[in-house]
């Protein structure tokens, strides 16, 4: 009797063991995405302009548009995205463990992340820098005036380290209060627990415009204390998928360079004689085949989200609620850093 039970238990253990044992196969993300008919995309839990869900549960933002463009290029439908909202803590592990196919969540590219965490940085979608926000009544106008002050910060970001470096370099002895959730950190700042809150300047603009009770009461200090190249990451070990995400983003950037807008995609596809435009839109060489995608991959993506410039203007640009200047994120030939590798 006992022996039987034991045998049964051993059998169960063995079966469960073999089930867990199968290690995730590398290089299969595209197949998995096609089989499931959806791209699983890790996004921010709520950062207006980059990724936030509206009252109807529809996601919007610059980071979200990257997910949509990838889904449109791969599956021909920008709605086939499963959004997984992640905290700063969870995001890298979620990608490592295979829970998501793509992490598009204002994540900074760093050496540590690229080289030692089993991740691949794709293409920068937003050049940012870390800044500070203070209440106007504090009369602080420069980050150098933060000596001995308390600053709220979210944990699990490059922000904490930058803050410490800046504090040390300028001998400021800044005290930190570290929160797990961005919401808790900003709530503590608005409650007056800290004299300042620090994160990427784009994030500060988002918070000032969307979270602050009275946006005009808060000032974003002029100093940027770090370089924060933000962009999507993929899991290491799947070069095909890495290439797809990379080239969709390059395609969006290059489309802006050649003036291909969302509204004109079909028209230009039929009429344009420019070889570069024809290649992007799939009416010339079949660039999609090289990536394992349809010929129309890029025109599908552009029809869904528009080119990079349109994505920027719609979500975070000067006319949007965030009102961020184009700055470094302009095209390379207009004084910015957006320089796409050529699609050919």
């Amino acid at each position: 009797m006992n022996l039987k039970k034991l045998k049964a238990a051993a059998a169960v253990v063995a079966t469960v063991g073999t089930l867990i044992a199968a290690p995730a196969q590398a290089g299969k993300t595209l197949d998995a995405v096609k089989a499931h008919g959806q791209v699983v995309c890790g996004v921010h839990t709520g950062l207006a302009g980059f990724s936030a869900a509206d009252s109807a549960g529809k996601w919007a933002g610059l980071d979200v548009d990257i997910c949509r463009a990838v889904a449109a290029a791969v599956l021909g439908n920008s709605e086939k995205v499963k959004y997984v909202p992640l905290t700063a803590q969870q995001r890298l592990t979620a990608l490592q463990s295979g829970e998501i196919d793509l992490l598009s969540r204002n994540t900074t590219f760093t050496l540590t992340r690229d080289a030692s965490l089993g991740l691949n940085d794709t293409v920068v979608t937003y050049y940012d820098g870390q800044g500070f926000i203070v209440p106007k009544r504090s009369k602080i106008t420069s980050a150098k005036q933060l000596k001995n002050q308390t600053v709220c910060v979210q944990s699990g970001t490059t922000t904490e380290k930058n803050l410490t470096d800046y504090s040390k370099a300028n001998n400021l002895n800044i005290k930190t209060v570290v929160f797990e959730k961005e919401e808790a950190a900003t709530a503590a700042y608005f409650a007056g627990r800290c004299i300042s809150y620090t994160t990427d300047a784009s994030g500060l603009a988002s918070i000032r415009n969307k979270v602050a009770p009275v946006p005009a009461d808060h000032l974003i200090l002029p100093e940027l204390v770090s370089k924060e190249p933000l962009g999507p990451m993929v899991r290491r070990g799947d070069d095909e998928w890495f290439a797809i995400v990379k080239w969709v983003i390059y395609g969006l950037i290059e489309a802006e360079e050649y003036g291909i807008t969302q509204a004109q995609v079909d028209q230009l596809k039929a009429s344009s004689q420019n070889p570069a435009v024809k290649r992007i839109l799939g009416s010339g060489d079949d660039t999609g085949k090289l990536l394992g995608l349809d010929k129309d991959w890029m025109s599908n993506a552009l029809k869904a989200t528009g080119n990079y410039g349109e994505i920027f203007e719609r979500n975070v640009g000067p006319k949007s609620a965030l009102g961020l200047p184009r700055g470094l994120n302009n095209q390379w030939n207009k004084g910015g850093l957006m320089y796409a590798y050529p699609l050919r």
Binding site: Q89, T150, G156, S167, A188
Partner: protein, 391 residues
């Protein structure tokens, strides 16, 4: 020796219960070892396949981040090891103080539920039912919100003498360390030794004559007087490091941050509601006949509690009380929600800076396991001491 001895059992037979037991145990251990080995090797293989670096070598690297509050000075150039120590010290700080306060508050409330005064009884029951039934995370967030939203800003801090209370926390003066304080400390130690001697003497006196000596005021007086005398001998140092209000912060002196205060309040009040129930059950377990007998012998209520009720109640109280202490310590890991830099908070940051998630989680689990085992070891040995020796 009887002629008809029982048939000899073969030791190495499947029919022998001892042998079967041994086999089962070996198999069970084998399965556990295999399971652990499998999980570990599977994790390592998968991490290697995905190019995730692993190992504990990162602990010696400089941490690179600063910590808002710590018991001992910490610089961002120091190693991750040190950072973990700071986090552990912060966890223990809130846990130890919380345990002491929760025990005191819980005992008072627990005894209050036996009060002859209906109002006291009702208040105590209301307290228990309220705080026991609200999740502790919500309570922590509530206290933190109260402290950061309701308190005045630092410019308008409430001031009482050298004490300040504001959004920046609670600031108080601390004595500046001088040689005289070492004298006072030595006096305190001598006082405790004297009180211990007095305790033994009073006990022998009681056993010899039956006269009860003061067991509280006299020892307390001895300890305090001895410390005071030594302090005076040491030159009565009284220099204080008092907090000074600046424009945006209160400098100098000692400080309790709102994060620490919210943690302490939340954990204490939550756990005290459970401890009061533990105390109540302990007292209720002592049969009424015992107290009636004590009254019949002419013991006053204080002695009745100390000599009759408490010794019998403690053996019921201690084991579940240990559970509450463990719960409080483990609940302190919720600190990360309100920005208190405890062990989890430090581990989270380290995890994100280095990407060594498995290693950091392993360290945290090992630390909590060690704290919990030490706590229960301590409480179990105390329990053995107070348990009634059955004769």
């Amino acid at each position: 020796m009887s002629l008809k001895s029982a048939p000899k059992k073969k030791r190495w037979s499947w029919r022998s219960q001892a042998f079967r037991g041994l086999i089962y145990q070996i198999v069970a251990i084998g399965v556990i070892v295999l399971g652990v080995w499998f999980l570990a090797s599977n994790t390592l293989t998968n991490m290697r396949v995905r190019g995730i670096q692993s190992g504990f070598d990162f602990l010696n690297q400089p941490a690179g981040f600063s910590i808002g509050e710590s018991l001992f000075p910490f610089d961002s150039a120091e190693s991750y090891w040190r950072a973990f120590w700071v986090g552990l010290a912060n966890t223990l700080r809130v846990a130890v103080v919380g345990i002491i306060l929760a025990t005191l508050l819980g005992t008072v409330i627990g005894i209050g539920r036996f009060s002859r005064n209906a109002l006291v009884r009702g208040l105590c029951s209301t307290y228990v039912e309220c705080f026991r039934n609200i999740p502790v995370l919500l309570q922590l967030l509530m206290w933190y919100l109260l402290l950061t939203e309701m308190l005045p800003s630092i410019q308008n801090a409430w001031q009482a003498g050298p004490f300040f209370l504001s959004k920046g926390g609670f600031n108080y003066p601390i004595p500046i360390w001088q040689a005289g304080h070492a004298w006072a400390l030595a006096g305190l130690v001598i006082g405790i030794a004297l009180a211990w001697l007095y305790h033994g003497w009073a006990r022998r006196q009681f056993e010899a004559t039956g006269i009860i000596k003061s067991m509280f005021w006299v020892p307390l007086g001895v300890v305090l007087a001895s410390a005071l005398l030594a302090w005076l001998l040491g030159g009565a140092p009284s220099a204080l490091d008092s907090p000074v209000k600046g424009e945006f912060s209160v400098e100098n002196g000692g400080a309790l941050t709102p994060e620490f205060l919210a943690m302490l309040l939340g954990l204490t009040i939550y756990t005290a509601s459970f401890i009061s129930e533990v105390v109540r059950s302990g007292i209720a377990s002592v049969s009424r006949g015992q107290t009636e007998a004590a009254a019949a012998l002419g013991l006053d209520p204080g002695l009745e509690i100390r000599l009759i009720v408490l010794p019998q109640a403690l053996r019921v109280i201690i084991p579940p009380l240990t559970n509450q202490y463990l719960n409080l310590t483990k609940n302190s890991s919720l600190a990360v929600a309100i920005g208190y830099p405890d062990l989890i908070s430090i581990a989270n940051t380290a995890m994100n800076q280095t990407g060594r998630a498995v290693e950091c989680i392993a360290i945290v689990m090992a630390v909590y396991l060690t704290i919990s085992l030490l706590t229960s070891l301590l409480m179990n040995s105390y329990n053995k001491r107070v348990a009634i020796q059955e004769r």
